[in-house]
Amino acid sequence: MKLAELQDALDIYGSELAAWPDELRRSAERLVASEPAAADCLEQARQLDRLIARRVQAQTPVLDEAATRVLARLPRELPRQRRFALSWPLALLDVDLAPSRWRLAALAVVAFLGVALGLFGPDIDASDAGWLPGASAETTLAVMFEPEPLTGVRP
């Protein structure tokens, strides 16, 4: 770590090194221990943080009075709320589509069943058309798969 990087990290994460990401903290501690300029930099950052924090002195009575005023000024009759004319599509936003073990397991099972059914499931061909009541192979499947009249090609 270089001095400029230390300065940037102090600005980003503050002067409390314990709150820094581990690796960055270790690099900073090494630099501060080895370079007096880095130690000065840390000391200045601590002073700046302390001065910034000093202005956060809560002015409790003023704030409490102001908060009471704001709440008292809220109208007794609140305005009409804005609603979507069609709110049901919003329900889709509540559907949790994030991957989870159960959802992935269900998807895998369905996919497996699909493949298994495709590979080992019963085939329906013209000879099975008897299961259609009142229909024969010629009037159902054969009609559906009639050869093309001009070329004679079957679909």
């Binding site: 600005d11 700046l48 910034i52 102001a66 704001v70 000024r73 305005p79 709320q81 936003l93």
Partner: protein, 186 residues
């Protein structure tokens, strides 16, 4: 009895429950007022902004989706109102006046420290609005950079850049002697 979460209250507010709304408003008014005050630097503005923000919460509650924490959403509303509002009066940093003195320090050190604190407060007041907002969110509200980024509607690296620029300005203000700064101000 366990206190209802913000999100549960918002669900009730979305259904038109005024009691839940007033409960939520009471829960956040003080802190949001502090946030607005520190960003705008004007008490009257802060109160107006908060009033408007609360009414927006009520009006838009049916459209609110619990994608982020209520606090993040509400602070975003407040902060956007702060940033879009033009300053009506020169910034008067409330912090510039009387901080409790450090009893351990000698009078000379205390005087110097008070002077430095006043300069930092004044310098923060003069920062560009988004840099000031980043300082207020991370120091005053004690939020993480990621939470501040969500409120400022930017990336974490965006907040980090704001903090770096803000603190660079503050350091420069602290380094320059007060007399020179006064001359520059004129």
């Amino acid at each position: 009895m366990e206190e209802a979460s913000d999100e549960a209250l918002m669900q009730r507010v979305a259904g038109g429950d005024q009691v839940a709304f007033r409960l939520l408003a009471r829960r956040y008014t003080r802190r949001a007022l502090q946030l607005a005050h520190r960003v705008t630097g004007n008490q009257a503005d802060a109160e107006e902004i908060l009033q408007e923000a609360l009414l927006r919460v009520w009006v838009n509650a049916p459209r609110w989706r619990p994608m982020a924490a209520f606090r993040t959403w509400f602070y975003r509303v407040v902060l956007n109102l702060c940033l879009s509002r033009r300053r009506r009066a020169p910034f008067a940093p409330l912090e510039a006046a009387g901080d409790p003195p450090d009893p351990a320090a000698d009078p000379e050190t205390r005087r110097e420290d008070d002077e430095a604190a006043r300069r930092v407060a004044a310098a923060i007041a003069e920062l560009p609005a988004r840099q000031r907002a980043a300082i207020v969110l991370t120091y005053d509200e004690d939020l993480s950079n990621a939470e501040a980024a969500a409120i400022l509607e930017t990336s974490v690296s965006g907040v980090e850049a704001l903090l770096v620029r803000a603190k660079r300005s503050l350091r420069e203000q602290l380094r320059s002697p007060p007399e020179r700064r006064n001359e520059e101000d004129r």
